[in-house]
């Protein structure tokens, strides 16, 4: 077994041996891939599925393995060596499948309920009496959405990421490789917020009016 620090470890290989075996002995190649996939998905399951029970995860891993090996390993053969570890490609495809899988079993509101206890914002303690606000609230949300659309893509991403409580490092991930530093992301976020408030004021929305 390669050392955990070895570059030859299956997790770090750009072209694991089972990809070659597939061409010579399909059954053995599939079996070796299945072992690799099982170990990786047990060691680092997709975050969205970490709440699964052991049995659910076992079933899901089997589904994933079959997804890659079905139809003469059609999906597995789509892999191209770009000089990066095979495991990175595998994790990306698996995460995508995990989201598809998760979407099947939960509605959008169920997924977002944990992020927002009051999906329509009504009842928020900082809001004024709901009876006064409720009729205006959907209109304000519409104006917020319209104002965000007018802003730069960077502001759109920063404002939404901040609203979803991502940390600065995660915001930089969303912004891409040229995003700069955490401090710069924080400064950019503050500037975007000011711009949004200004746009909302132009639309006649003064947020401080809705504070208790």
């Amino acid at each position: 077994m390669p050392s955990p620090y070895s570059e030859d470890h299956p997790l770090r290989q750009t072209w694991p041996s089972f990809l070659n075996v597939l061409e010579k002995d399909l059954t053995r190649g599939k079996a070796e891939f299945a072992v690799f996939a099982y170990k990786l998905l047990q060691a680092r399951p997709p975050k969205i599925l970490q709440a699964q029970t052991t049995e659910e995860r076992e079933d899901w891993i089997q589904e994933i393995i079959l997804h890659f090996t079905n139809d003469d390993c059609r999906v597995l053969r789509e892999y191209r060596n770009t000089g990066h570890p095979f495991a990175a490609w595998f994790v990306t495809v698996v995460n995508h499948k995990a989201y598809d899988f998760y979407r099947k079993f939960s509605t959008y509101h169920e997924r977002t309920a944990s992020m927002d206890d009051t999906p329509d914002g009504i009842g928020h303690p900082d809001l004024a009496e709901p009876a006064d606000v409720r009729s205006e609230f959907s209109e304000i949300v519409g104006k917020v959405a319209a104002c965000i659309k007018k802003m730069s893509r960077k502001c759109q991403i920063l404002l939404q990421a901040a609203a979803e409580e991502y940390n600065p490092r995660e915001m930089l991930t969303l912004l891409g490789k040229d995003a700069g530093t955490n401090k710069q992301a924080g400064d950019d976020l503050r500037a975007c917020r000011r711009r949004l408030k200004s746009l909302l004021m132009d639309e006649g929305v003064e947020l401080s009016h809705y504070l208790g």
């Binding site: 072992v35 099982y38 060691a43 917020v144 504070l211």
Partner: protein, 305 residues
């Protein structure tokens, strides 16, 4: 900037409210959102995405809350998947034997929806419905065809007359569709096949000593009468009255025990008859001449079955 704006800039509660408004506005993923391809996502993470790929990912991130979550999760996984900790975890996993024997579900030659048809709750109404359709449509059709053919027979119509009448729609009883001309042929064919079967595979053959032809010496019709021992006529074959020596006229046979009247245009020079009666040894065939006073036996032409 107004004082009011400066005030809200300093108030964290306004930012919190703004976040909630943004979050609410972002809850619905736009209908035109398309999940980027895995290769594009990977190139974005690996820092070698081209401008178009970069733009695709940024647009998707700006549009979909779910895709933002996916990107954060995937980035986190990618940053650790080749770490020493991940390698150690990977190596410590025990793989069950069953994983290595995983095989894809056998490819079924039928589409997935066909499986639903195999359920009894679905299949039963279909079978019952099909039977109902058969009984309601095919059954009467067959009877109607049969009746039509029988009508043609009783009317002593040959095929050309029958078809002609059918096409004109002047059948005495029914306006017969053209399709029944074909049905007539099919039915007659079946009838002949049935008789041929009977003639060749059942009963006894009237071959030994039987005349292959019979001629009337008087110009009357020659009739082969088939009677049982009690003298009851169970069938007869009639030759034309014109003294033709060929037995080529219509033959009317009564086959017990079915007691079915069959109209057989046997257009042949001679006839081998096999009688599909249950006890042929009790019957006989006589050749008689049909006169005004009835049938007259012709000596020398009596054949014991």
């Amino acid at each position: 900037m107004s004082n009011g704006t400066e005030h809200t800039d300093d108030d964290p509660r306004v930012d919190d409210l703004l976040n909630r408004l943004i979050r609410t506005a972002a809850q619905q993923t736009p209908s035109d959102f398309a999940w980027p391809q895995d290769e594009t996502i990977l190139a974005y993470f690996q820092g070698n995405a081209n401008k178009e790929q970069h733009e695709t990912i940024q647009a998707a991130i700006a549009k979909s809350s779910e895709f933002r979550r996916f990107m954060i999760d995937t980035a986190e996984q990618l940053s650790t998947v080749t770490s020493n900790a991940a390698v150690a975890d990977f190596d410590s996993v025990q793989v069950p034997e069953s994983i290595m024997d995983l095989h894809p579900a056998p490819v079924r030659p039928w589409p997935a929806w066909f499986n639903a048809l195999r359920r009894p709750r679905v299949l039963a109404p279909i079978v019952i419905g099909a039977l109902a359709v058969f009984i309601l449509l095919v059954g009467p059709m067959d009877l109607f065809q049969h009746r039509t053919v029988m009508l043609a027979e009783y009317s002593e119509l040959d095929r050309s007359e029958f078809v002609s009448l059918s096409q004109r729609g002047t059948h005495p009883e029914d306006s017969i569709p053209k399709a029944f001309a074909t049905a007539y042929d099919a039915a007659m064919s079946r009838l002949r096949e049935s008789v041929a079967y009977e003639l060749t595979s059942g009963g006894y053959k009237l071959s030994e000593g039987a005349p292959t032809s019979a001629a009337s010496t008087t110009g009357n019709k020659l009739v082969l009468r088939i009677v049982d021992k009690q003298g009851t006529e169970i069938g007869k074959i009639t030759t034309p009255a014109n003294g033709d020596t060929n037995i080529s006229a219509e033959a009317w046979l009564v086959f017990p025990p079915q007691l079915t009247l069959w109209h057989l245009p046997l257009n042949r020079d001679s006839v081998d008859i096999t009688l599909p009666i249950e006890h042929p040894e009790r019957g006989c065939v006589t050749v008689t001449e049909q006169t005004d006073s009835g049938y007259v036996a012709t000596p020398g032409h009596i054949f014991q079955l």
